[in-house]
Point group: C2
Chain length 420, copies 2
């Protein structure tokens, strides 16, 4: 690929969508860079993309798809469905989540939407009035900002996660600062939207932290939305889900998805656990905006939910991927090239580079090593020096990407790689 | 089914969603009655529902589903896709629509969304600012109102369709009044949303009327959205599509769907033809709100689009259904029980009753004849005396519903049915 072409592509990524504001009556949202990097990666022969946050382990489990194929021999999924979701899927979710959080969840507490994004959009449209504020603990998942803007609300970034160095953790570890979030609350704050485990940092909050956040939000009349789409990929420590808090407080909502846990990103099935009055209010919202989540996808999700052994299989592979990738990144950290904390959960390594511009580095790695990653500026202003890497790939892809990255960094810093 | 239960259900339909406003921070949208009537109909043994506007002719074509089954043997539909839609589907739509409207349509003029509703929602969120007005020629498709409200805009009903009696048409025919729409335009009007052919009236505008509307809107800087989800079901006269106008004016948008034409309502695939700058602006909107329309559903839509013979098959059956149903309704009209115009297009008979309350009549018919229909008040204030009936059902279902309705009306008005 010619060098000029890469420079042109890099330009595309850095420029914003100014063209679109030609007609001022059309909303002008910025497209996260990840979408464009992914497009470039797919156009390059032999490129490995660790950019997009999708589970890529040989496609969706074939048993799940075989079940969907059987359903396609009937007319079960052909027609409009309930706007809150397929009844058996809501029932099965209620049962599964009741067991996992050891508290009774009713079908009336659950709705199904078009992926995690669709669920968050429906909630944002139902809860946000014009000018309301939505608190985003930063670094934050990029789509949150645009969802807030589409609901005519103001996204308010709070740099609540910090990679802090201490004597005990000389390379740094992620700290979450609830007090900073508390101080950002105004009379207009309506939602606090938390990715948990965090995309991109992998941070999980303790039971006490979640309780504190949930109580704080209820006291202030703020909706705490806990977006737990990575809850099945926990590698270290205990994980406390927000589900139980969604039952305790009418202001806490727990969101989940089949896109990450079951690798069904193309199918678009997500769900929320919330107070039954809120779920009831979502019914006409989704009846107007989506009709219903795609029928055949909901049947596939039902099958997937009945087969948790597939998740366990994915989780085992991802833990190994994480360890292999972290062993390499530990060596980069030891050489002073990056700083990071081994993620305790999720799909991602989120590391800070010590010199240069992340977008330039990402484009240089893309060109020379044919490995795609995501610049930190997608995740908010505090993450400019960070890069996100997704390790939810086939193990041989992870291994090959390490070979390429190792060569790239040893070419760039030959004095640091004398062992070769 | 006990009488008290029916009364209870009728109560459910008449009351609004007042319960939901308990927490004033949650939006309180009214659920169209049709959703509840459909739910009651499905809970009754042996009930025929002519309420929901879905093509029910033995399920989706099996060849289309067989194609989807083949795709499920691969990983093509497993992962996130482009937020504007599957490239081959956009290309095929561009080609098909270019041919049908005899004008060149580019892929950049097309995007795919989650059903017609998803497409309309994305457009509303992208185009409407808080307080903007959206003109709805009335009677209007119920979801339009809630889509406007979710975009923080104000739905403005204009009774532009009138079932008018003249000397030439003593029973009445639908007239469309552009001047009335024009007089409702204010400085806040941002969208004029037209169902074409109209749900529920079946009215199609002439080439001159569409040209006039398109020019009027462009002059005023108003987006004319022409929602043509019934465009393949034209029974009389020529049909002029809005597609060509969407190419001529950056302010005209043509929306289509696979839900009605191909009976794929459960799959949720719709599309729009619009100016390329608007399509480009939709990319980050859909990236945030839906990610992408469900992958497997888009592949099924691609196959369906390549097999227009299936539509022709449906259209032939529906024309016969219309004729059979209209022959019966002509007799009701001759007896003075109802007024209506034989629909020239679409799925529906939309008739005016001469005495009583439509909701009460619908519940009485549901109870005594086990036939479900939709009250006109779903379609706006001017349609209170109307009832909508969907004839997109298997012919034997249509025949049986006529038997039941004939018995119902002959029991109710024995003096008018002396021929039996």
């Amino acid at each position: 690929m010619p060098h000029l072409y890469i420079r042109f592509l890099a330009g595309l990524i850095i420029t914003t969508t100014s063209m679109l504001s030609a007609n001022s009556s059309i909303i002008s949202l910025e497209m996260p860079s990840i979408k464009r990097i992914e497009a470039i990666a797919q156009s390059m022969d032999g490129c490995i993309s660790l950019a997009q946050g999708a589970l890529r382990l040989g496609g969706i489990n074939q048993h799940t798809k075989e079940y969907a194929r059987q359903i396609l021999l009937t007319d079960k999924a052909d027609y409009y469905g309930d706007s809150l979701g397929l009844a058996p899927l809501r029932q099965k979710l209620a049962l599964t989540l009741s067991r996992s959080c050891n508290a009774p969840i009713n079908v009336q507490n659950i709705f199904i939407g078009h992926g995690g994004l669709g669920v968050l959009s429906a909630l944002a449209l139902a809860l946000l009035k014009t000018g309301d504020e939505i608190l985003l603990p930063e670094p934050a998942y990029p789509a949150y900002t645009n969802i807030a803007k589409l609901a005519k609300a103001k996204p308010v970034f709070v740099a609540a996660y910090e990679l802090r160095k201490t004597e005990a953790e000389p390379h740094g570890a992620w700290k979450f600062d609830i007090e900073l979030l508390k101080s950002a609350i105004t009379s207009k704050t309506k939602i606090l939207l938390l990715s948990h485990p965090s995309n991109p940092t992998g941070v999980c909050l303790s039971n006490e932290e979640l309780q504190k956040l949930s109580s704080l939000c209820e006291d202030k009349g703020i909706y705490l939305i806990i977006d737990e789409v990575y809850d099945d990929f926990i590698y270290e420590g205990d994980f406390t889900s927000g589900t139980a808090f969604a039952l305790q407080s009418p202001f806490t909502i727990r969101v989940g998805s089949f896109s990450k846990n079951y690798g069904m990103s193309g199918w678009r099935v997500g769900f929320a656990v919330a107070h039954q009055d809120l779920v009831a209010a979502i019914a006409p919202v989704q009846a107007a905006t989506i009709g219903n989540a795609t029928g055949i996808a909901q049947y596939a999700a039902l099958y997937a939910l009945e087969h948790p052994e597939h998740i366990a299989h994915y989780a085992t592979i991802l833990k190994k991927n994480r360890d292999v990738m972290c062993n390499f990144f530990d060596s980069l950290q030891a050489k002073g090239i990056i700083s990071y904390e081994r993620p305790k959960a999720g799909f991602y390594l989120f590391f800070k580079i010590h010199e240069g511009n992340t977008t330039e580095l990402i484009m240089d790695i893309l060109k020379n090593a044919k490995v795609a990653m995501t610049p930190g500026n997608d995740f908010g202003p505090s993450a400019q020096q960070f890069i996100r890497l997704c390790f939810a790939r086939d193990p041989e892809v992870v291994t090959e990407s390490i070979v390429r990255l190792k060569k790239y960094f040893s070419d760039k810093y030959p004095h640091l790689f004398t062992e070769i």
